[in-house]
């Protein structure tokens, strides 16, 4: 439950912003005590540290945080070459009296995040050079384990009007697990497939949030000064969460995390101090149409494929006991034994171990190394495993 200083969006206005049929009213586990029930797909209004302290420990799968950047802008307004005024971030929530105060704030919210994270959860934080070094250091000090730093390269950054520095054309995200030993979620195969079969790199090229996506008020002014593009959130959530996972955003703002989570079939918990932002977020999220389950299902990771013992390949008759296997060029030979091991001279062992042995290597994937002769052609034995998996597929 939320702490006394925290209310669910939007308190008095709850009837408008929190629909009766929302998912939060259907907790996934009926046995969870009421006091521990997660406010799923809800927006808590209040201080994020107090709100997180009111959540049960080890309850969320992922955190996405876009904290204040502590920009420390000068007093005077920045003018463009045409003398128009740059609409800078000068809100009170970005005012800190010192680096020490910012550090202490950073440690406090990161500590609160760490408590509510499941052991295998991971956390994303976005920032610029003003604050990201403080955040990264705090993360490491608190025991988080950095997995990557990711560079969001902006397609259309604001130019440096004074010509005094390089165009600040990127922001940095840190992706970290709760502990060095955590078994975090990472959809390697899916990301690779979406990148034309190349590994996804640590530098992402994504446009700013503009146009229809940018929330505007009645007067046409942007509702929030630092609204992030949905594409950025989509890539983070697709890579590091599963459908149904709970994503916590302690600096919810206008709810990009919630909108993307809903669209991608994830659950969210948002925390936001300003009720104006929370109300805008609620309206925005309510209008989001989730993608169908079928569209959403991620490409199965290779390692999730059913394990086929080499013995089963023999039992199925694809390879015969007593048959001789060789490598691709026919330099090495091994005899298949009925128990699923192979034999070279007096030595026998698994297809992997013997493959490594004959090559003098520390390790070897025997499935890709050994070949059988079929119709005068050498056929890699992984072919037989693939055949068996196809047959198993319909059952699984």
């Amino acid at each position: 439950m939320a702490s006394p200083r925290t209310v669910v969006a939007g308190a008095a206005a709850r009837k408008q912003v929190s629909r009766p049929g929302r998912l939060a009213s259907a907790p996934r586990m009926g046995l969870v005590p009421a006091v521990q029930r997660l406010p799923l797909d809800e927006i808590l209004i209040g201080d994020c540290i107090a709100a997180m302290d009111g959540l049960p420990a080890a309850s969320v799968d992922c955190v996405f945080a876009d904290p204040p950047y502590n920009l420390q802008l000068g007093e005077g307004a920045l003018l463009r070459p045409d003398q128009s005024r740059v609409d800078a971030v000068d809100d009170d929530w970005d005012k800190f009296s010192s680096l020490a105060q910012y550090d202490s704030f950073t440690r406090a919210w990161l500590t609160a995040c760490r408590r509510v994270m499941k052991p295998n959860a991971s956390l994303w934080v976005i920032g610029s050079y003003h604050n990201i070094f403080r955040v990264g250091s705090a993360l490491q000090d608190l025991g988080f384990w950095i997995l990557n730093d990711i560079v969001w390269r902006k397609a259309n950054p604001m130019p440096n009007f004074r010509g005094k520095r390089f165009t600040n054309a990127h922001e940095t995200l840190i992706w970290a697990s709760r502990d060095p030993s955590a078994k975090y979620t990472f959809h390697y195969e899916a990301l690779k497939g979406g990148n034309e079969d190349l590994q996804m790199r640590s530098d992402w090229f994504i446009p700013l949030c503009t146009g229809d996506e940018r929330l505007k008020d009645a007067a046409g002014h942007k509702v929030h000064p630092t609204q992030k593009p949905e594409a950025l959130l989509a890539r983070t959530l697709l890579s590091a969460t599963n459908p149904g996972d709970v994503v916590l955003d302690p600096f919810f703002g206008t709810g990009t995390t919630g909108a993307v989570a809903k669209r991608l079939g994830r659950r969210f918990i948002g925390i936001e101090r300003e009720s104006v932002y929370a109300a805008a977020a609620r309206r925005r999220i309510d209008a989001v149409e989730p993608l169908s389950q079928a569209t959403l299902a991620l490409a199965p990771a290779k390692r999730a494929e059913p394990r086929v013992p080499f013995l089963s390949v023999i039992e199925a008759g694809h390879v015969r006991a007593g048959e001789t296997l060789s490598d691709a060029r026919g330099r090495f030979k091994a005899v298949v034994r009925p128990d699923g091991t192979v034999m070279v001279g007096p030595v026998s062992g698994s297809i992997h171990k013997i493959g490594a042995l004959v090559q003098g290597l520390p390790a070897c994937n025997g499935w890709d190394f050994w070949h059988a002769e079929r119709n005068g052609q050498r056929v890699v034995i992984d072919t037989f495993r693939a055949k068996m998996r196809t047959q198993m597929g319909s059952a699984a």
Copy 2:
């Protein structure tokens, strides 16, 4: 003068490595007392903190530092999929017992740098996510003023062999002035001219240091595990120093900073703990031919066409997740998934892989094969990629 624990490269071997006609014997200011004379274009061998403490205060115009990254690699060797062994950085100079020890080392050398920097000097530090947050925080704590963080995007990074993270495809440089009020050097116009009249951005695309540029010993092994590309140093020195300026590099290694400084008509002071590296640096720098004053201009960088992942096309909204693609004649259909893969029946994969699959071909260019319907017309998806490339402009 250098401290007692510091010797000029290479001490006994000075006759070979330090030529009589070297620039160091002609200080620019005759009034500087002998004891305060700068060891210009020399390499000091020894601990960098002691060596810097032996230099006069406020005497250098720029610092470039490539400190140990504190990688904290695990015990076991990392093997590639082909079982070859990755030649990791496991040198003693990158071993620190704790984060606290690394922090104290970082503060010490940064403090020493700050003392020898002229009031308007600026400093560059390069690092990876392992150390850059410690460095950035220390910089801010010591009173430096961060001007930019720069991302060095590697053209040819090492892949992530285990498929457990994003390919670590960049390193970060921090550019900072000694004080918030410093009037630092920045050659805005020159950089813009070399960038087709667009402001130089904070993300730089530069290949690794390989080939003839990479120093090798007699056995053909790399002399230094982390030699930086000269292109990287050239861009930093061209942007933030003037000809004749003094550049200090406290972690000189094999002297990339010195080689580039000499070529670009800057003076250097190198400090290096390992005499083997220092000797290699001396030989390398002696072979460098300086450019004529007239030639000192920024060469426009060549750029390949930027690669656009299909996922980015979806993120940009040109194609919608859940939408159906077809081939030119409408014989085959595939559904777009939010992660950038496409799906035919139960099978999913990249646009290329699935294009090949449905046609029964070994390969297929998905960009030319798949079409989306727009206004009753089939539009090949390469159209959307071309659109995005126009927007990306010089961003490759």
